[in-house]
């Protein structure tokens, strides 16, 4: 097995006496697409800033590309591409100039930067926006430009902190497509997200994080197999009745989760469960059978939903 590009052991970051990241350990192999899935405040961004060698850890050990970020920050960052949670493009410069200026920070000769800027604008599907003011770009375009900027140094690892949060569905799909291309080309991706569909689409392997700690680790399929059933039946009886009806549903599936607006029944065969329920004389207002997702894994692990 090739040497990992990132090795974190008991990585911890505290602010005052609050542990934003509380002893997490993981490894990322070269070429792998690795995710941190967790709700807001889980410590994803804090972890990413430590991996990005800009935030110093409180304790634990961290090696990126076989170097310690405490000693070799600039050397590590020279080989990273970083897409932060909030875009920080230079609003005073035009789109292409953002790439040119940024490329210089890696000591790349001017001529090379110019060529790469054009290639990356094409990759980000922004060729016709090269001269646009950053402020005039849409959210999705800004995000793609930020990704293009992160690729200017041909990084060995690309760090993406919530790459599609706040984008509309169409913009997300364009972005996923670009990231998928990078993944196919063997770029090592490390990304955080609180969208389970994003994690399922892009991650070979992920850790589920909550309150600064890792709850589970594996491939998306693996985690679903381990922590959930194959299918889920979602039934709604009306907000005030869900709780009461749930008691009568006990035993119809492998496991039941009662949410404020609906009841989830986990089983290998959702349709069969629905038939059984109706035979008991229960008639849900709506019902839906779907495959288990990482959302269900998270619910199982923490008793809470990923989003809100």
């Amino acid at each position: 097995m090739p040497a990992p590009v990132i090795t974190a052991t008991d990585l911890t970051k505290t602010y005052g006496d609050f542990a934003a990241v509380d002893g997490i350990s993981f490894e990322v192999a070269p070429g792998e697409s690795f995710g941190l899935l967790g709700p807001n405040g889980a410590g994803k961004s804090t972890t990413m800033r430590m991996v990005g060698a800009v935030s110093t850890r409180t304790s634990g050990s961290l090696r990126i590309l076989d170097l310690d970020p405490d000693d070799s920050g600039p050397e590590i960052r020279a080989q990273l591409g970083v897409v932060p949670q909030a875009d920080n493009l230079d609003l005073e410069l035009r789109a292409r100039d953002n790439l040119l200026v940024y490329g210089r920070y890696f000591g790349i000769p001017r001529k090379v930067v110019h060529r790469r800027a054009d290639e990356l604008l094409a990759f980000a599907q922004l060729e016709d926006r090269a001269k646009a003011k950053v402020d005039d770009l849409s959210g999705g375009m800004k995000r793609r430009l930020t990704i293009a900027r992160a690729l200017i140094n041909d990084p060995r690892i690309l760090l993406l902190d919530e790459p599609t949060t706040g984008l509309d569905p169409q913009a997300r799909h364009i972005l996923w497509d670009r990231l998928f291309r990078l993944k196919e080309q063997g770029t090592t991706l490390v990304l955080t997200t609180h969208y389970m569909d994003e994690a399922e689409q892009l991650c070979d392997r992920l850790v589920v994080v909550d309150k600064g700690a890792i709850m589970a680790e594996g491939s998306p399929a693996d985690l679903i197999r381990r922590y959930s059933s194959r299918e889920v039946l979602e039934v709604r009886f009306g907000s005030d009745r869900n709780e009461a009806v749930a008691e009568r549903l006990a035993g119809t599936g492998d496991r039941i989760e009662v949410l404020p607006d609906r009841v989830l029944i986990y089983s290998a065969n959702g349709e069969a469960v629905l038939t059984r329920i109706t035979e008991q004389g229960l008639h849900p207002l709506t019902s839906l059978v779907r495959r288990s997702s990482l959302e269900d894994v998270f619910l199982r692990l923490t008793g809470r939903s990923l989003i809100e």
Partner: protein
């Protein structure tokens, strides 16, 4: 596949033999160390390039004020007001020179401080806040110290030519009696950078701007412009107010400029003190800015 889609293989410098020899460790560590060597050496200069490119977007304003200000001020104060002052006071209260020669080095130093007050306030606060490029730069292999150094260098690149232009206009107005007059350009730039470095050490700490910068201008810089022996000698102020001049870097810079531009008579120790005082502001402002930036970017 084309360039951007290729898997990362390091930068064009990964094979620099001098660097890879120096580094032990694995191939990936060696590649990283090689890639980091140029940013470590030239990082501050890259930041300077970036900032100058940003300034280029208000190049028009820079050029217009750079030429317009000395023309307007020297004409209004140096020629207009000077006629009045010289006639009434017989020049005695401002030393042995005319009012124009007296006020010109002060205006020059003031121009430098004005540039500092533009470039080290909102652009620095903004770089951390509403256009947070400092975080982006720090995510590249550039340290917070290099970011600070780059800001200082970039402003120096704007301030020095502006002061040279100012000085040339002073020459045209016949406001520089001494052959050593050109040294007043250095006095002005030193003053501007000294004030600028200290301004930056403060604006870099601001988390929100709820009018602090405007207050600073109104209650810090404006009194400094008025009471630093700029338009009249400090000795004209009531003794109780003269301390404003003594602590003001602008007073020290102005007096230093006068020594050069018309041989203003003062004891040598005082001239040395001007230089030392301005140096202290510059060095303290610079080091504190570096510290503040490091804390803020790497927390």
């Amino acid at each position: 596949m084309s360039g951007p889609l290729r898997r990362g293989t390091g930068t064009p410098f990964a094979t620099d033999p001098a660097v890879s020899d120096a580094a032990g460790g694995s191939a990936q560590a060696r590649a990283a160390i090689a890639a980091g060597s140029r940013p470590r050496r030239f990082g501050a200069w890259y930041v300077t390039e970036h900032r100058l490119r940003g300034m280029a977007s208000y190049r028009g304003t820079i050029i217009a004020t750079g030429i317009g200000n000395p023309l307007v001020y020297l004409f209004a104060l140096g020629v207009g007001l000077a006629t009045l002052v010289d006639r009434n006071l017989d020049g005695s209260s401002v030393g042995d020179v005319g009012y124009l020669a007296f006020v010109a080095p002060a205006l020059l130093a003031t121009a430098a401080v004005t540039i500092a007050s533009e470039e080290f306030t909102y652009p620095i606060f903004g770089g951390f806040k509403w256009n947070p490029i400092f975080f982006a730069i720090n995510a590249a292999p550039i340290s917070p110290r290099q970011i600070v150094d780059g800001q200082l260098l970039a402003v120096l690149f704007r301030m020095l030519p502006s002061c040279v232009v100012y000085y040339l206009v002073m020459l045209v107005f016949g406001a520089v009696p001494s052959m050593l007059g050109w040294l007043s350009i250095l006095a002005a730039v030193a003053t501007g950078m000294a004030v600028g470095a200290v301004l930056m050490s403060y604006t870099a700490t601001l988390q929100t701007d709820t009018g602090q910068i405007a207050m600073l201008m109104r209650f810090g810089l404006t009194p400094m412009f008025l009471f630093s022996g700029t338009f009249f000698p400090l000795s004209q102020l009531p003794v109780g107010l003269q301390w404003i001049g003594w602590i003001s870097p602008l007073w020290h810079g102005t007096e230093l400029g006068r020594v050069f531009s018309y041989g203003h008579a003062e004891p040598l120790w005082l001239t040395v003190l001007h230089v030392a005082y301005l140096s202290a502001w510059l060095v303290v402002g610079w080091l504190v800015s570096r510290r503040v930036a490091t804390r803020r970017l790497n927390k």
